[in-house]
């Protein structure tokens, strides 16, 4: 995950950089608005954190410029004071979220996770999943293999998606992931048996075998 942090308080910026790096973000720091805009236009970030009060160009101007250049990267604004006007102007200028200083770093990280999660889903939802000799269409839930295509049920699709993504899944965890708290191991086992037959029917040579407390997808 690439993150742009535009914050003119050098000490705060440095502290945040350490925390963000620790949380897995590759962070570029800018200490004024102009530098922030320059970086935002020349790099592809997954998320931007912009302070509003900055020298040379304020955060809202930076944001307007970013959006004017058709960059849809999620942006979180940092407002120095709890000023409603700033929040409204920021959100209207295209910000996805804001946080009032002083803030709790745990909350900042949670908000960043929420914003990137939304974006991740968006990019994932468009586009097919191609794996081995099968193709999965996210919008139609169609599974197509070399011989035939079939329409999967939502949970079958999710299960196959998990298998393709992780190659190996754990039964209990997968049950809760797909069916929520009511998820039972047996449901996963039943749906695995559906998927095995449907993969075969599509003409795919992929198999799902049992492996300890889970299942493995094999080509």
């Amino acid at each position: 995950m690439k993150l742009l942090l535009a914050e003119d308080e050098v000490e705060l910026s440095k502290a945040l950089c350490v925390i963000l790096k620790h949380s897995g973000y590759e962070t570029d720091a800018a200490y004024d608005g102009q530098k922030a805009l320059e970086l935002a236009l020349s790099n592809k970030y997954d998320v931007c954190v912009l302070d509003i009060m900055m020298p040379k160009m304020d955060g809202i101007e930076v944001l307007k410029n970013i959006r004017a250049n058709d960059i849809e990267t999620p942006v979180l604004l940092l407002t120095a004071k709890a000023q409603t006007d700033d929040k409204i102007a920021g959100l209207d200028a295209g910000a996805d979220d804001y946080l009032t200083k002083p803030f709790n770093t745990g909350e900042l990280l949670a908000r960043l996770r929420a914003m990137t999660r939304r974006n991740e889903k968006k990019t994932e939802e468009s586009g097919d999943i191609v794996y081995g000799n099968i193709k999965l269409d996210r919008t139609t839930l169609e599974l197509s293999g070399p011989k035939a295509s079939l329409r999967l049920a939502k949970q079958e699709f999710q299960l196959l998606d998990e298998l393709i993504r992780n190659k190996k899944i754990e039964t209990g965890k997968t049950a809760r992931l797909i069916w929520g708290d009511e998820g039972k191991d047996d449901l996963v086992i039943i749906y695995i048996s559906y998927l095995r037959k449907k993969l075969a029917s599509s003409g795919s040579d992929m198999t799902i075998s049992q492996d300890g407390g889970g299942f493995v997808l094999e080509e």
Binding site: S149, L150, L152, I190, S193, Y194, K198, S201
Partner: protein, 214 residues
């Protein structure tokens, strides 16, 4: 049109060959009925939901012959195409289709002319069915004559789709024909998926529960 009973159609066109075609249909139906009775006698469930038969109508037979570049004569109807006599076997589950096909194919005096597995390899329209073209021996007063017949074996779900699709195919010049064809294909793929799910549930019940080995 396939009928549950035997309908006399195209009598004048087929002439005395109609006797052969009707005999072929009766012969195939009887053989399947015997399989069916034996399976149940052994304590297994009936793999067949119902059987329908038809003799191809004069009109569609002539159309087919002309389309294939043959003279529309009775002679050609018997020798050049294989589906003047037709039997449709509608099974309960997907596995039943293959079971019935295998049992028929293994009958020694039946000649297998062609088998087309449109279940493993569906047609672009989404059509799924197992087609078997055979020649069955018919005993005549002075000789044995092999008569061609087409057997279509499919599940209730496949039959449901095929019957409805056939009905809708009459109106070809509708607007959005491409979208409609795509939607019909989607239905076929959904039904096929459900068919497999039902088969898996059946297997689960037969093997005594979830994760049972069979």
């Amino acid at each position: 049109m396939y009928e549950s009973g035997l309908e006399r159609q195209g009598g004048s066109f087929y002439g005395e060959s109609l006797i052969l075609l009707e005999a072929a249909v009766t012969e195939v139906t009887t053989r399947i009925d015997i399989i069916r009775k034996f399976v149940q006698e052994k304590g297994f469930r009936d793999p067949i939901e119902h059987i329908k038969t038809r003799i191809k109508s004069e009109e569609s037979m002539k159309e087919k012959l002309v389309r294939k570049g043959f003279e529309p004569t009775c002679e050609n109807a018997i020798s050049k195409v294989y589906d003047a006599a037709g039997v449709r076997v509608v099974c309960t589950f997907v596995d039943d289709v293959y079971k019935i096909a295998k049992l028929l194919e293994s009958q020694q005096d039946i000649k297998i002319i062609e088998e087309k597995d449109y279940i493993s390899n569906p047609k672009p329209s989404g059509y799924r069915s197992y087609h078997l073209i055979i020649a069955v021996p018919i005993h005549l007063p002075e000789c044995i004559k092999y008569v061609n017949a087409e057997i279509q074996i499919r599940t209730i779900a496949m039959d449901c789709w095929a019957s409805l699709e056939h009905e809708m195919r009459y109106k070809k010049d509708v607007p959005n024909a491409e979208i409609i064809a795509g939607e019909l294909k989607r239905c076929a793929d959904e039904i096929a998926s459900t068919d497999i799910t039902l088969q898996a549930i059946r297997d689960m019940i037969d093997s005594g529960g979830i994760g049972g080995k069979k």
